[in-house]
Each structure stands twice: as structure tokens, then as C-alpha cells.
């Protein structure tokens, strides 16, 4: 099938690509661009490992066709740090040990960043509920939640 021209802004850089319509945004990020920080878990939207931020909203990139993301802004885990400094959410995951094997971590970090951007004042219960679309098969949820609360606190106090 013919490839279509697509223009994606990924982590601030514009990419003009030719992609097959059946390629998901996840596949474009990983296979075409080479940004493998975004992970493929279930590929059915259930695990959240492929979460990226699309025009300011956290989405499961396995459920988006790359062609429909044309003209939009995408932030992946690779785009969070700036000037060699980690984003507060990344820093908090390191400090609390909010990861075990690390596979779910990029998705958790991107989902958490979007949640904190939207409202850093959520309670622990609200964050727990709002992160229900992300699964950690090592079951490291306690430390993950600690990391999210720590990052929210950090962002609240420096805002």
C-alpha cells in the first residue's frame, strides 16, 4: 500500500516521513524514528507501556495510526529531560526506586507527567485511580505511587 507523507513534531523536532497508513504511532516512533524509549506491551491499550503525550494529552500510542498524528505534537520519554537535567517526575522515580525491570516505567512517567500537568493537587487515591491504565507486572506500585506523589509535591512547590 502506498506510503503517505506525514509531518510529526516529536520532542520539538519536526520529522517529515513517508509511512504506511497501517503503522501505529508506536511503530513509527520505535521503528521509523528509532525512539525505543516508548515500550510496546500488550498492544491492545490495556497496559499503558506505550503512553506518549499527544497535543498535551496522554494517549496509548498503540491505538493511534501514525497518519492521524500528522501535524500534531508528540512528547516521548526521550523528550522530558532538558539541558541534561531530568524532569522532576523522572528524578522522583529514581529517588524512590519507582521501577523494577523498567519496562513499564516510560509509560508510567509519561502518564504521571500529564496527570500532574493537569492537576498536581490530586490525592493519593485519585492518582492511584487515574493511573489505572498503567500496569507494572513486577507489581512495584507502592514505590511508583510514592514517586508520583513526590513529583507532584515538587512541581506544586516550585510552580
Amino acid at each position: 500500500m502506498a506510503k503517505l507523507p506525514v509531518s510529526l513534531t516529536i520532542n520539538g523536532d519536526e520529522h517529515d516521513l513517508l509511512i504506511e497508513p497501517r503503522k501505529t504511532l508506536l511503530a513509527v516512533l520505535r521503528d521509523t524514528i528509532g525512539l525505543t524509549g516508548t515500550k510496546e506491551g500488550c498492544s491492545t491499550g490495556d497496559c499503558g507501556a506505550c503512553t506518549v503525550i499527544l497535543d498535551g494529552k496522554a494517549v496509548t500510542s498503540c491505538m493511534v495510526l501514525g497518519v492521524t498524528a500528522s501535524g500534531k505534537e508528540i512528547t516521548t520519554i526521550e523528550g522530558l529531560a532538558s539541558d541534561g537535567e531530568l524532569h522532576p517526575v523522572q528524578q522522583a522515580f529514581i529517588e524512590t526506586g519507582g521501577y523494577q525491570c523498567g519496562f513499564c516505567t516510560p509509560g508510567f512517567i509519561m502518564a504521571s507527567k500529564a496527570l500532574i500537568d493537569e492537576n498536581p493537587d490530586r490525592t493519593e487515591e485519585e492518582f492511584r485511580h487515574a493511573l489505572g491504565g498503567n500496569i507494572c507486572r513486577c507489581t512495584g506500585y507502592t514505590k511508583i505511587l510514592e514517586a508520583v506523589l513526590k513529583a507532584a509535591e515538587e512541581i506544586r512547590t516550585t510552580a
Binding site: T44, G45, L65, G133
Partner: protein, 284 residues
């Protein structure tokens, strides 16, 4: 995923013309169709994205508090809309029950309804809001009440080329409530969805609507239960009668998730519970 031809029309007429052809599928939020295409349960030859057609998104409230929801409005927007939260609480609650936030940021209300799952989480709220569904095709437009839209699981009255454009909710009830009977907190399908909306005047129910999901081949209104309630005060005896009438209106199946007997019993219980909560909201 099989290959397909991708179209991104900018007018409804063009989208309708493309969609009227064989083996064509519409793409709204993609959260159902893309999973289906990966599983090869959906193998369209052409996929028609609706995202470039102007006027299909957005939620607007008119002076009389009637609300219009574009078919391409994201489920997350429906969930967070203050007007919908205030005037059609059951619909906002239903929207908040779908998948995860990541999925609700993609999924559209039009897709949730057009997919015609009897278990769709926005459908009970739309039923009790008496939603009018605007439909367009290359031949013109028509409006279908939501309770006449569905003909079976995955089936609607939509003909080839017809596209849902908008849901119009007339003047709201004074209180509504939605209960999703489920196991997991999030990322679960409804065993049963029950919504109720009622108007109360001085302790007397002037209007009542009950919407049931996942307990019949299509989402349904429990009209006999509704009729029992009108003109009366909501006593425990009346609640019991309404619950039984709603259960009698259901025709659930047994599946992996629970038995038909359990579903029917729970329709009774959850109808009473939603009515009580809707009534509290109506009086509050």
C-alpha cells in the same frame, strides 16, 4: 494489521460517499477499530478518518440548558464537561467509566455509540437524557432518538454511508445517576450498566427514565418501571416494584463474566439503587 487505503475527507458528503462503499470503515478515536484491525477481526479495505471534518467536535450548551455533543467529542471531554456533570450527571459518570484516561483521551462518544456494544458506558446516560442522534449522509440528514438507534449487538439503524454527527440532549432532568456493575476499578467492561434520571416536584416524581446496558441484545429503556414511578412519591415499596419491573424488562445472557440469573437479579438491585441516588440528587 492488513493494509488499507486511508482517506481523510474534509466534508461529511465526501466521507459519506466513501463510507457507502463496500469494506469501508470509519475511524473516529480508533480505540475499537485499531484493536480489531490488529486482531484481524476487522479487515477494511478503506479507512475513513473523520478528524479533518469541521463541526463534528465540541460540546455546546444552549440558553435553555439543552446540550449538543459533537460525535467526535472525546469521551474525556464528556466526562470533564461541567455542564454535562451538572445537568446529565449519569452521562458524565458513564464516560468516566470507560477504559483508562489514555483511552478516554482518544475515544469519541460517537464511536462508543456507533460501535453499538450493548455494554457501552455512555449509552445508559444518553438513554435517560432522551438524546436525539443527528445522522448525516450524502443524501441529507435525519434524527433518530437514541432508544431507536440500536437493532442488535453491534447493529444500528444506520444505513451504508450514514454517519452520526451529533447528540442533542433536551432539557435536563433534575437528578441522574449511573452505576456500572464491574469487578475492576478501571479498565473493565460493564456486567450491567444502569442509569436513572428523575424529576421531582414537591416529593412527587413528575418524570422518570431508566436506561439499562448489557442486559439485553441492545441497550434498553425500562419503560414499564418508568410508568410505575410517575405521579408518585418514591417509597420503598415503589422502589421495589420499579426494580422488579426493570428486571422483567431485561433479557440478559450468561457469559464468561456472569450468569443471566445474576444479571437479572442485579438489574433489580441496581435499578433501586440508581433511582434512590438520582432522587437524592433531584431533591438536593
Amino acid at each position: 494489521m492488513k493494509s488499507f487505503e486511508f482517506f481523510e475527507p474534509t466534508t461529511l458528503a465526501e466521507a459519506s460517499r466513501l463510507f457507502a462503499q463496500e469494506h469501508a470503515q470509519l475511524l473516529a478515536g480508533g480505540t475499537d477499530i485499531i484493536i480489531g484491525m490488529k486482531a484481524l477481526t476487522e479487515t477494511p479495505q478503506s479507512v475513513i478518518s473523520l478528524q479533518k471534518i469541521p463541526g463534528l467536535a465540541g460540546i455546546t450548551t444552549e440558553a435553555d440548558n439543552s446540550i449538543s455533543i459533537g460525535a467526535m467529542a472525546k469521551v474525556r471531554e464528556v466526562e470533564l464537561s461541567e455542564d454535562i456533570q451538572q445537568h446529565h450527571t449519569a452521562l458524565a459518570e458513564g464516560a468516566s467509566e470507560i477504559g483508562s484516561i489514555q483511552i478516554r483521551n482518544l475515544a469519541t462518544i460517537g464511536g462508543n455509540i456507533a460501535h453499538a456494544s450493548p455494554a457501552a458506558d455512555t449509552v445508559a446516560g444518553l438513554l435517560v437524557a432522551d438524546a436525539q442522534v443527528d445522522i448525516a449522509s450524502a443524501d441529507g440528514e435525519r434524527t433518530v432518538p437514541i432508544n431507536e438507534l440500536f437493532t442488535g449487538p453491534g447493529q444500528t439503524v444506520l444505513t451504508p454511508g450514514e454517519i452520526i454527527t451529533r447528540f442533542r440532549l433536551p432539557s435536563p432532568a433534575s437528578g441522574s445517576y449511573y452505576i456500572k456493575h464491574k469487578i475492576r476499578e478501571v479498565m473493565d467492561l460493564a456486567f450491567i450498566g444502569v442509569a436513572a434520571a428523575i424529576n421531582v416536584d414537591n416529593g412527587t416524581i413528575t418524570d422518570a427514565r431508566i436506561g439499562l446496558a448489557a442486559v439485553a441484545p441492545t441497550p434498553i429503556r425500562a419503560t414499564e418501571a418508568e410508568d410505575l414511578l410517575k405521579g408518585k412519591a418514591l417509597t420503598p415499596e415503589l422502589l421495589e416494584q420499579a426494580g422488579e419491573a426493570a428486571a422483567a424488562a431485561s433479557s440478559p445472557i450468561s457469559d464468561l463474566r456472569c450468569s443471566a440469573e445474576h444479571r437479572r437479579e442485579m438489574v433489580d438491585v441496581l435499578t433501586r439503587r440508581t433511582l434512590r441516588q438520582a432522587s437524592e440528587r433531584a431533591s438536593g
